[in-house]
């Protein structure tokens, strides 16, 4: 429960250390969309290099920029799709609590939970876990790379 005397600044992005260069040959088939070039000023004005820290792009350290670029790359490896009503279990996005409507852009996490792409991408830039089941997304991704 409470953990106020523990450091709350543990940086979950550091989980990505070392393992972040991907051999394109190892990437699973659905992840065809390549990560876009990293353009902080155009993509997102405010970044969250670690939990609780928010800073505009031009005030990030080089280290933080690298971490964010890596995070954006990983997020873009997660499959996306348009809502077509075939998945009967996924009816609403629990982040914005709106029901999915036909044509909504969705993103699927390795745990099979899905959200509006816009909603989940914003969350994943802060915390790389599924907001519903708390499954760490990067661990699952790296496992996917190893087994495929």
């Amino acid at each position: 429960m409470g953990n106020c005397f523990k450091s709350s600044s543990n940086d979950d992005i550091s989980l990505l250390r070392g393992n972040d260069h991907h051999d394109p040959a190892l990437e699973p088939a659905p992840f065809v969309e390549p990560p876009p070039p990293y353009r902080p000023q155009q993509r997102m004005p405010i970044f969250h290099p670690s939990p609780g820290v928010s800073r505009p792009a031009n005030q990030l350290t080089e280290d933080e920029q690298i971490k964010i670029a890596q995070r954006l790359g990983l997020i873009n490896h997660l499959p996306t799709g348009k809502y077509d009503g075939t998945n009967k279990k996924a009816k609403e996005c629990v982040i914005c609590m709106n029901e999915f409507v036909f044509g909504d852009e969705l993103r699927y996490l390795p745990c099979m939970h899905c959200y509006h792409r816009e909603c989940i991408d914003d969350w994943l830039m802060r915390s790389f876990t599924c907001p519903s089941c708390m499954e760490p997304v990067d661990a699952a991704l790296l496992t996917t790379y190893q087994t495929s």
Partner: protein
């Protein structure tokens, strides 16, 4: 307020209002203003705890970045609990800090706070004095917490002895709340409590 935050709070507000916990008088949420940036929560003290019979009011502030960041919650009703400051009402609860997830709701938060009242975590304290008493003199802690529930949260009157000590210090000219804090801190020893207030 960002659109998504306001939309969510509106939906959550409805969700809590029509939930079973509300009809059972377990949890409650009210609007403070019509911009949905601030709400007033209330939780009932869990049965078979020192908080039983009490109603605890909470201040809930919704950040612009909700639900990507947790709501800011503190106790308005004074409470004697290891994970809640007896001075400011600040709460030590991981889901209100780094364990927050965007799928959690106001209802999750209120039910988690209720669970915290039923199961304190004295090793991660918010109030060091209370946590020490909890660990080293638990019977006194239980009596003190029950007394505070009666004094501030409308809980049942039970402990004549403690009430009389507060009254005796009031008669010595001390402020009632300050006297209660001093007595609670000094394990209900009137002499030590008086020394504590004078020093």
């Amino acid at each position: 307020m960002a659109n998504i935050a306001e939309q969510r709070i509106k939906r959550e507000f409805k969700e809590v209002v029509k939930s079973d916990e509300v009809s059972a008088f377990n949890i409650k949420v009210e609007l403070v203003n019509d911009t949905f940036t601030e709400l007033r929560g209330e939780i009932a003290g869990p049965p078979d705890t020192a908080y039983e019979g009490g109603k605890f009011k909470l201040e809930i502030k919704i950040p612009e970045t909700y639900p990507f960041n947790p709501p800011q919650v503190k106790f308005v009703t004074k409470i004697w609990h290891p994970n809640i400051s007896s001075v400011t009402g600040a709460i030590c609860l991981d889901i209100l800090k780094d364990q927050w997830a965007a799928a959690m709701t106001l209802r999750t938060v209120l039910l988690s706070l209720q669970a915290l009242l039923a199961a304190a975590e004295p090793d991660d304290p918010q109030d060091a004095v209370v946590a020490q008493q909890f660990k080293e003199n638990n019977p006194i802690f239980q009596r003190t917490a029950r007394h505070w529930t009666c004094a501030y949260a409308g809980g049942p009157k039970s402990d004549k002895e403690l009430e009389e000590k507060v009254v005796s210090m009031k008669n010595m000219g001390f402020d009632e709340h300050k006297a209660r804090v001093a007595l609670s801190t000094k394990d209900w020893d009137v002499t030590r409590a008086a020394e504590y207030l004078i020093s």
